[in-house]
């Protein structure tokens, strides 16, 4: 963990392109937030773009049209995502399993149409040239390097929250619900409340990622709220490893790097689909999960 942080602090000085790193960081946080829900509570949300892109719109609008600073902008975006997450969560947890996925997808699509119709989002063009501003009115975030350390701090805080949530009694209850919901109920846990809390937390962190990404790329657009985005975060998490701490980070880094290199050109959609199919059929534990299983086999070989 400390090693990873050290590498990330040194990375821009070793020639890594800061904007790409920041993009990877933001999507890693997005994927970790999503993993908190799917990997640890077994709730598949197909609507996380609503929180990610919605927060980006709020931050973009505040920073660009109302001249608010980046700190307040990000906080407002995150607060919006938290509130929206609470509303969506309280509706979606009324049904379980695949209905849950369909409901979150439909609610996110509703938000998509709302953003399309609202004048302040700039329609098809989106919000472009969002100013990065000065943090607390003092630190200028326009240079990539300054922004990089700000984004690193924000994302590290986000990861820490996810990590703490997973390794807390709350996280254990989540896992208990995932494994056996009726038993968790019979043990006296208020399952709906725990699920709603997890959903809201995940939505808020997804919003934090979206708001931060909006400052990095200085852009908030319909792409961020489209269902493709919801699918992409599922892909990152699945590819990296469901229910592993670092899996989503690996998955997000791979997917963003591949997109950035335009590795598949116009076949991106097909390639993404194929990765889904291969992950589901062959490597269900994802990259990190499979590696962990491999090391377990090597270090603890089964006795004949």
């Amino acid at each position: 963990m400390a090693l990873l942080l050290a590498v990330l602090i040194a990375a821009p000085f070793l020639g890594a392109y800061p904007v790409l790193l920041m993009k990877i960081l933001c999507f890693s946080l997005f994927a970790c937030a999503f993993n908190l829900l799917l990997g640890y509570s077994g709730l598949l949300s197909f609507g996380h773009a609503a929180f990610f892109g919605g927060a980006a719109y709020v931050t973009g609008y505040l920073c660009k049209d109302l001249g608010v600073g980046p700190g307040v902008g990000i906080l407002a975006g995150t607060a919006f995502a938290l509130a929206l997450g609470w509303v969506f969560g309280s509706l979606a947890i009324r049904r379980a399993g695949i209905y849950f996925a369909m409901i979150t997808l439909a609610l996110a699509q509703m938000m998509y149409f709302v953003w399309v119709q609202l004048k302040l989002t700039g329609g098809e063009d989106g919000l472009q040239g969002i100013p990065r501003g000065r943090l607390g009115g003092i630190i200028d975030l326009s240079p990539d390097l300054n922004l990089y350390f700000f984004v690193l701090a924000v994302c590290a805080a986000g990861f820490w929250i996810v990590y703490r949530a997973i390794h807390s009694p709350f996280g254990e209850v989540l896992k208990a619900i995932r494994e056996n919901e009726p038993r968790a109920i019979s043990l006296g846990y208020d399952v709906d409340r725990v699920k709603l809390l997890a959903f809201t937390l995940s939505a808020g962190l997804a919003g934090l990622a979206g708001s931060t990404k909006c400052l990095v790329l200085q852009l908030a657009s319909l792409t961020d709220v489209h269902w493709h985005m919801s699918g992409e975060v599922v892909l990152m998490t699945l590819l990296g490893g469901l229910g592993t701490v670092f899996g989503p980070v690996v998955g997000a880094a791979l997917v963003v790097a591949l997109q950035n290199a335009e590795a598949f050109g116009r076949w991106t959609l097909v390639a993404q689909g194929l990765i889904f199919v291969v992950c589901v059929l062959v490597v269900r534990r994802g990259i990190v999960g499979e590696l962990a299983a491999f090391f377990r086999r090597v270090t603890h070989p089964r006795k004949p």
Partner: protein
């Protein structure tokens, strides 16, 4: 000119007709989803892509091979259905012992593959498919001009829905299907080939989607994203109606299509979101859905 709440009668009826057509598609698609869900316990995310494939294969058949509309209406659903059965045999089959979510993720991936393929081959602009000669023109009903093709779409969709209802509720094959939905293990113990039944069911559900696609080809532009847009609305329809009953799917689909048509006239700004809003209200009032059983 007669006006109803400030809207000319003709405009109102025109939008209601569009709503009825959309509703027919909702009904056929949600019916296919419900049949597949009943036996396979998965939500077929590929459904929209398979509907799009139906429309596209009909268009390719007409422009490349001169396949007439009426032949496409039979051949294309069989083709897409067969492809569906291959998918079930080679991929979905391996997931039945796992969490239902994996089926959803797999079919989502397949939908991306299919859509991406058609995007690359045919671009994102829509292709137009001419209305077959026998159904061009329209009928004056005195107060409204009814295009023949649109009337045919509604009639054909309803006929297919009712035929499906009959097949499932009244035939012996349908009895197996219902038994399999209740308890597949017991059915297998009675000597019924359940894996084959599952394959056929998936193929049938997929064929329904492709049939809707062929019907839709002359009404809408044939484009790679036509399925994705529709299927999300159909998911909301399924949540509203519940997947418990066939007649429920039909009634919910048609009803929501009509409501959407009304919204276009009276509250245009809500026309894109009205079905989702209704879903929210239904979730608050009757979480299991209008015709659903809690499961």
């Amino acid at each position: 000119m007669i006006e109803i709440f400030g809207v000319p009668l003709q405009a109102l009826l025109g939008q209601l007709l569009v709503g009825l057509i959309n509703g027919s598609f909702y009904a056929v698609l949600s019916l296919g989803l419900a049949i597949i869900f009943g036996l396979l316990n998965i939500i077929n995310f590929t459904h929209g892509a398979q509907y799009m494939m139906g429309a596209f294969l009909a268009w390719i058949g007409l422009t490349k091979f001169g396949l007439p509309y009426w032949a496409a209406l039979v051949v294309v659903p069989l083709l897409v259905g067969a492809l569906g059965m291959v998918i079930e045999r080679t991929m979905l089959k391996r997931l039945y012992h796992l969490d239902h979510l994996y089926g959803l993720l797999l079919t989502f991936g397949l939908a991306l593959v299919i859509e991406g393929f058609f995007f690359n081959e045919y671009g994102s602009s829509g292709q137009s498919y001419d209305v077959p000669d026998a159904l061009t023109g329209g009928t004056h009903l005195g107060f409204i001009f009814l295009p023949n093709y649109r009337a045919w779409v509604v009639v054909a969709s309803l006929a297919v829905c009712i035929a499906t209802w009959f097949l499932i509720e009244r035939s012996s094959l349908g009895a197996y299907l219902r038994a399999g939905t209740e308890n597949p293990k017991l059915l297998q113990a009675f000597g019924v080939n359940v894996p084959l039944l599952i394959t056929l069911t998936y193929g049938f559900g997929v064929a329904l989607a492709a049939f809707a696609g062929v019907l839709a080809a002359p009404v809408f532009q044939v484009s790679p994203d036509m399925g994705a847009k529709l299927i999300i609305v159909v998911f909301a329809v399924v949540v509203i109606g519940g997947m418990g009953s066939i007649l429920g799917s039909i009634v919910t689909g048609l009803g929501l299509g009509l409501i959407e048509g009304l919204a276009k006239v009276y509250f245009p700004e809500f026309s894109a979101t009205i079905i989702f809003l209704i879903m929210v209200i239904v979730l608050l009032v009757r979480p299991a859905g209008l015709f659903g059983r809690v499961r």
